[in-house]
């Protein structure tokens, strides 16, 4: 195996809602180029972890170090800026915009043209906007929904909406792509296609953090897996070992 570089390190991240400890000093390390699974029963704190990481929640304790830099997650657009993109468990597309427009919004960060460019329509702006459209088109092609490019996002099928969310997240050129239950509600064929897509994304150099309920998918796809239960990390290892861990089995089957 190649030398393992840390991309994301969470140090004792804590978050509570009133008296409920949603995350209790969770530490974990994600290596560059791996597919890292985060699993756990419902309410274990997986999505809360995502929300802290992407700046939607402010964690009360601990911190994240991303690509060697401590995250000051005070605004979600800054998380995007350093290279973290995500999708949502409950799909959150811009429903009243077309598929390609959704992806183009994701390009916002990596382009520069300001208002004056937009108004004056100088050649640099026009070239940039053409490049945005071209890149968005490539991304739709990449996730396999190019033919739906000009349909409103809300009219896309469920599986296509999930793909569009991934394309939109990739448009921000992330170093880390965080997928929140991408296979939820998908049938076997769609899940298989998703697996191929995620592997392709990793091959193209993006590290993937995957929250998933589909244990089979996680075990087949991830290099390493962490298990959360009641806001605590109870296990972190390669899938084969995690599957045999007594605490994990207890958490999933009840004790």
């Amino acid at each position: 195996m190649a030398e393992q570089q840390t991309l994301l390190a969470a140090h004792e991240v804590a978050k509570h809602f009133g008296g409920v400890k949603a995350l209790h000093d969770v530490s974990l390390t994600i290596h560059r180029g791996e597919i890292y699974g985060l699993i756990g029963p419902n309410g274990a704190g997986k999505t809360t972890f995502f929300n802290c990481l992407t700046g939607l929640y402010r964690n009360e304790g601990g911190h994240f170090v991303f690509d060697g830099v401590k995250l000051e997650a005070d605004a979600p657009h800054k998380a995007a800026e350093v290279g973290i993109a995500r999708t949502f468990q409950n799909i959150r597309l811009f429903g009243n915009m077309t598929a390609i427009e959704n992806v183009m919004v994701g390009r916002h960060l990596r382009t520069r043209a300001g208002v004056f460019g937009a108004i004056s329509r100088n050649s640099a702006t026009r070239a940039e906007e053409a490049a945005i459209a071209r890149r968005a088109d490539e991304l739709l092609h990449y996730v396999g929904i190019q033919e739906r490019s000009h349909d409103y996002a809300r009219y896309l099928s469920y599986g296509d909406q999930r793909r569009l969310e991934i394309a939109r997240a990739l448009a921000t050129e992330p170093k880390l792509l965080a997928l929140d239950e991408p296979a939820a509600g998908m049938n076997g064929t769609e899940t298989e296609a998703l697996r191929v897509l995620v592997e392709g994304i990793r091959r193209d150099g993006v590290t993937v953090l995957l929250i998933e309920h589909d244990v089979k998918l996680v075990m087949g796809l991830c290099d390493r897996v962490a298990v959360l239960d009641y806001g605590e990390k109870i296990c972190e290892d390669v899938p084969a070992i995690v599957q045999k861990d007594a605490r994990v089995i207890e958490a999933y089957l009840g004790g």
Binding site: T54, G55, L56, A75, P76, H77, A79, A80, E81, A85, R86, F88, R92, L93, F94, G95, N96, M97, E101, N102, M104, V105, G106, R107, H108, L109, R110, T111, A113, G114, V115, A118, I119, E128, E129, I132, R168, A169, A171, T172
Partner: protein, 307 residues
Amino acid sequence: MDTLLQQLINGLTLGAVYALVALGYTMVYGIIGLINFAHGEVVMIGTMVAFTIIVSLAGSGMPPLLILSVGLLIAVVACMVLGWGLERVAYRPLRHAPRLTPLITAIGMSIVLQNVAMIIWGRNYITFPPMIEKQIYEVAGASFTNVQVAIVVLAALVMIGLTYLVQRTRMGMAMRATAQNQHVAQLMGVDIDRVIAMAFIIGSALGALAGCMVGSYYEIAHYQMGFMLGLKAFTAAVLGGIGNMAGAMAGGLLLGIIEALGAGYIGDLTGNFLGSHYQDIFAFMVLIVVLMFRPSGLFGERTGDRA
């Protein structure tokens, strides 16, 4: 028949102005869900600034059209700064406050701006100097002026430009995305502070333009003119479906026409018991009817689905 055509022309002129002002309300509402009651005052300040510039340049020997353009440009820039400042000072600190709080602040800002304007420009009606030689055209028994033509054409061009900006450009897409879901837009790297500021800046620029149009049309300005104009434009925005930009344009035109027709026919309808100075009641009748029967406005849904 003469009255009908005449009032349609007058209504179109008025409606173009309402539409521009209504866009300012609707853009801000679409993005942060705030009814910016100070917007009418921004329009008034725009008119006053243009007035001051035009009056001070009037004796300079510059060509009248140039003076008018300079006045308009400075008014637009002044209002852009004002709109930006309002958002920065009065509304941004209240971004996460309960909805009623910024609304009350908006009313407060409206009062502040009115009073500042009263101190600067006085309590009296100001005659807006006519810079363009007025020409009157007659078509099929109805008459209209070159000022009216300029208002309608300019408003149409600006609205086309705005539609292009919002539908086709990077900034426009960021605005639409923010209107639909602020959090997700942020996660896609959109700096929503900038987007919100931009909505205020663009809306205020449109307001300044509308103010100059009203000033040139009626040739009069007053520190309280923003109140009624703002209320009418707000009605237009509600009529079209507040938050929906196409709705604001259509609502503005429709309201202008309804008002003009109302003013034109109210005498006939009531046996001259009520005269055309009652034209204001039509706008508010429209507001009441819309709120009773179709509160979401003509264009139904908002541009953005707020979570």
